[in-house]
Symmetry: C2
Subunit: 242 residues, 2 copies
Amino acid sequence: MASQLSSETSTTVRKTLEFVQHHRLAKGDRLPSERELSERFGVARSSVREALAVLDAMRITERKPKSGIFLRNAVEDGGLDTLVLQADLGLAFDPQVTRDVTEARIICEEQALRLACQRRTEADLTKLRRLLDAYAAIIDADGNPSDADVEFHLALVAASQNRILVRTLTPLMLMSTTWRRRYFDSAAIRRRSLDDHRAFVDAVEARDEAAAAALVKRHVQTAAADVRALAEQGSATATNTT
Amino acid sequence: MASQLSSETSTTVRKTLEFVQHHRLAKGDRLPSERELSERFGVARSSVREALAVLDAMRITERKPKSGIFLRNAVEDGGLDTLVLQADLGLAFDPQVTRDVTEARIICEEQALRLACQRRTEADLTKLRRLLDAYAAIIDADGNPSDADVEFHLALVAASQNRILVRTLTPLMLMSTTWRRRYFDSAAIRRRSLDDHRAFVDAVEARDEAAAAALVKRHVQTAAADVRALAEQGSATATNTT
DNA sequence: CCTACCAATCTGGTCTGACCAGATCAAGGC
DNA sequence: GCCTTGATCTGGTCAGACCAGATTGGTAGG
């Protein structure tokens, strides 16, 4: 969640998170008052309050009436939405986080694919083929397929007929793909990714659970390793991707 | 996420969701203007705007400047946070949703427990034993252990050393437990739940993956079945739990 | 010197009203 | 009938105000 908020609210959320990180605030610490934040950020208190409502809803902060604003979870310890928000904002990540995301994605996607093999409908297959074509069209036009990649993976999971799994994997996918946007710069990788996707659909169509499970494991792990290599390479010159 | 928002914001969020449901609004539909909502709900526009900021962040609505407020996802199609929010607000649920949540929980918790068997530390075991005692104390005092239940399950998952899995399961746990609050009214169920929890810790300590996996599957499925029975029983008199 | 109490101050919660600029739409001119 | 145009509506943002409870610092009493 938490993309494309109104500009002012979005920037205020960002500034607040940066404030927390910069001042090394931890769980339970108190933030400056709304009035001070509004002055510090150069926006009206109402704008600060909108940002705080978002942070509150994300369980990052807690506003105690007549008392103050307290950190509920450190930014590093927030919910998945917080992480997606951080990825959107281009903030840096603990390498451990990317490893955990990869592991979680493999767990959920593998089981989802197994279910998909059992339950996929003809409509699912049709949709997947269509997304496959769209994906191919994008890379033929030399575009960045990161959004199409998310859409495809989620459609694959949706074939499990479990909408909760889709919603669970959505933030994980969004995070990975934010990181992978640069990664898709390589034409070879785009092509390999498309081949993998085709193999997914074939396995699901053939109801071959074992093949699907093995494929997704390799696909995600390979991609994650490539991203990690790219990140380490990049971190020689820059600490984060802002 | 999205519990314990400030009272006004929370109720306004609720009213807005109810408005959407009541008027059968679908994706892309337009909501009344902020000014009209504020009048309709009897609160100031600033309060409406705070609620809309939350709904925006949850990707439920989209505010197009100078144009209007549009539904991005139908309430039924929102993210996990939306569902947790709905559960918090006591709104009704599609039975399919509870089934999907159960399935997703089993998938994630089973794999998390397997990892926990491999990676659990002494500190994890100490914490789990402590939570077990706290749980026992609560049911001895005839209290409702739903919060302790969430805490225990999440600690169990945390022993997998994968923080993303914890965050992924958090909303699923929160949802289940909101539903299960009534369910814990039965002393027999509270006792059985405690026994299950003890067995979890024993299996993780013994690093017995197969036992842990089987246990969690049975535990979650049994609980879900009981809740479903309770819900069907309750729905004879009331459609939802408001 | 320490404690207990009280008032000034600070804080979040909420409301009112205002201005801006772009989107929308209906009325009027061609 | 089509296009222009201006009134109107919308979200975005701001300033300032009041409330009531939490906090706190200083003072009076022990």
